[in-house]
């Protein structure tokens, strides 16, 4: 009935103990979205073998939910193929965290966009960008700062 006002235990767990924080030296691909003016930035590094994400690390400047969704999103795509990872949505991330307060939903977009941005980098670097894949990145530039 009422909107959630409070972070779930899962959000708090991922916030207090974020998984996959850091950087990957010689990453196969990287992506950064957001900007400091808006109050959140996320950077994702990927290690990819045979089109499978074998390692992922992030750094995030942002609020509690930005950090928690960053952590959750990296967990969700770890071990996935790049095309599976492309299916990641902010809604799925939020749901995996048992939901987010309404005014914080936009933060979960940051994580989706950062992962996609890194994947785009990968496809471009490896010459695997196809029109179908291109289509999935269309929203990136529009939305990335739209929060």
């Amino acid at each position: 009935m009422r909107q959630k006002m409070q972070y779930s235990d899962k959000v708090m767990d991922h916030f207090m103990h974020p998984r996959n924080v850091g950087e990957i030296e010689n990453a196969d691909a990287s992506g950064t979205v957001g900007n400091a003016k808006c109050g959140d930035i996320m950077k994702v590094d990927l290690k990819i073998e045979d089109n499978v994400i074998v390692d992922i690390k992030f750094k995030t400047f942002g609020c509690g939910s930005a950090i928690a969704t960053s952590s959750m999103a990296t967990e969700m795509v770890m071990g996935k193929t790049v095309d599976e990872a492309l299916q990641l949505t902010n809604k799925a991330v939020a749901e995996a965290l048992d939901g987010l307060p309404a005014i914080k939903m936009h933060c979960s977009l940051l994580a989706e966009q950062a992962v996609k941005s890194a994947l785009k980098d990968f496809f471009e670097k490896t010459g695997q960008m196809t029109p179908e894949r291109e289509e999935l990145f269309k929203s990136l530039d529009d939305d990335a700062h739209d929060h």
Partner: protein
């Protein structure tokens, strides 16, 4: 770090009601419950006590009892002062002067008027958050009807030169209102000495109850009514008086003033200790607000490279209750207009923390807070791409 006992450090947002104030209020719910406008004994008794409270409050401010009008909160007092003046003086002019660091109760009231055709001059502040009295003088025009500048800022604690500003307004025959919500109960206020036309107070900022405030209005001054209704408050503010709340406010104000000198000195010592420790032990930290001209209980700092909400969230997890700015704007995602007004870049404004001290806080708590903040800031920086960038740049520079 273990979950500790909770330490409340957000007295600028609200304060717990003093136990003596609660004791004062309770009989007014059931025993002296009469409507002060009523004729019979129960009503007269309520009226008598209400007017005694008005006398006592007036005494604290060196005001006339007739200059004290009870309201529902600081926000109502601000809205009344500003909109009431505008409505009653619009024939003389439609220009209002305020500052960039006012509380939203003042800013939004002014903006409401702007939409109705009034003109607004929003004075800038310097990097410490000070409004220059000369800028007020410079902004006053033929058609200026009101200047409204707060006495003490709720976010960065800066104290304005209100007496000088009041004098300039008087010279120029312009009404002067000051939002004294944060100053109430924290600083001595003598209305005769101060020379302002209107002042706004809210009881819950000085260990009184929420939902009751007052507007001081200089004798002889007449502005339009805001809450129109019954004949209460000499026909100037309708609505059955919140007797319990008003009795509580009077008591709270008296208590605050009784121990003001001592408590103020104690808070300033705590405040300065906390500031000094934070600046010393947490690198890339800056103090916001004026170093000396500030509320005895206000500490506001920015930690570079990290974001405020995540600081608050970790502090909360460890039992420390602070704010990242005005509590009222926590629904918003923009950084505080006050921090932007003192010139902080957005990303630094985002990483700010307000600690507002109160009666229950101790030096031991300050030590624990500093310790926690050291760890929290360092953890968040380790996660921050901004900090990583900064370190890389520094390395490159050091290499050169």
């Amino acid at each position: 770090m273990e979950q500790q006992q909770r330490v409340y450090l957000d007295h600028a947002a609200t304060t717990p009601v003093h136990p003596e104030v609660v004791k004062t209020m309770v009989p007014y719910f059931t025993e002296y419950f009469g409507n002060p406008s009523s004729f019979y004994q129960t009503g007269r008794e309520a009226r008598k006590r209400l007017e005694e409270a008005r006398d006592r409050i007036a005494r604290v401010f060196n005001a006339d009892p007739g200059e004290i009008y009870f309201t529902a909160c600081g926000t109502e007092s601000d809205n009344w002062a500003i909109k009431g003046t505008a409505l009653s003086r619009q024939k003389q002019g439609r220009h209002i002067i305020t500052s960039a660091i006012e509380h939203h109760a003042v800013l939004h009231a002014c903006e409401d008027l702007e939409k109705q055709g009034f003109e607004l001059t929003v004075l800038p502040v310097d990097q410490d958050g000070l409004v220059s009295p000369e800028s007020v003088r410079g902004a006053i025009r033929e058609d200026t009807i009101l200047v409204t500048i707060m006495m003490a800022n709720n976010e960065i604690g800066t104290l304005q030169p209100i007496k000088e500003i009041a004098a300039i307004c008087r010279e120029n025959k312009v009404l002067f209102h000051s939002d004294t919500v944060q100053a109430g109960g924290a600083l001595p206020i003598d209305v005769k000495d101060l020379g302002a036309d209107m002042l706004s107070f809210s009881a819950h900022k000085f260990y009184g109850p929420k939902g009751v405030g007052l507007l001081y209005m200089r004798k002889g001054l007449r502005i339009a009514n805001f809450l129109s209704g019954g004949a209460q408050e000499k026909n100037r503010r309708g609505g059955t008086e919140n007797v319990a709340g008003i009795m509580g406010m009077a008591k709270a104000l008296e208590l605050a003033h009784e121990k003001m000198e001592l408590e103020s000195r104690r808070l300033i010592t705590l405040r300065d200790y906390l500031i000094q420790q934070l600046l010393k032990r947490v690198p890339h930290t800056r103090l916001n607000g004026h170093p000396e001209k500030r509320l005895p209980n206000n500490v506001n700092v920015s930690f570079e490279f990290i974001e405020g909400e995540s600081i608050l969230l970790m502090l909360d997890h460890y039992g420390f209750e602070c704010s990242s700015g005005s509590a009222c704007t926590s629904g918003s995602l923009d950084p505080s207009h006050v921090l932007l007004a003192i010139g902080l870049p957005h990303e630094i404004a985002h990483g700010s923390l307000r600690v507002s001290l109160g009666q229950s806080n101790t030096r031991e708590q300050m030590d624990k807070l500093v310790e926690s903040l050291e760890q929290i800031v360092s953890r968040l920086r380790d996660m921050s791409p901004l900090y990583a960038d900064y370190q890389k740049k520094k390395l490159t520079q050091d290499d050169k």
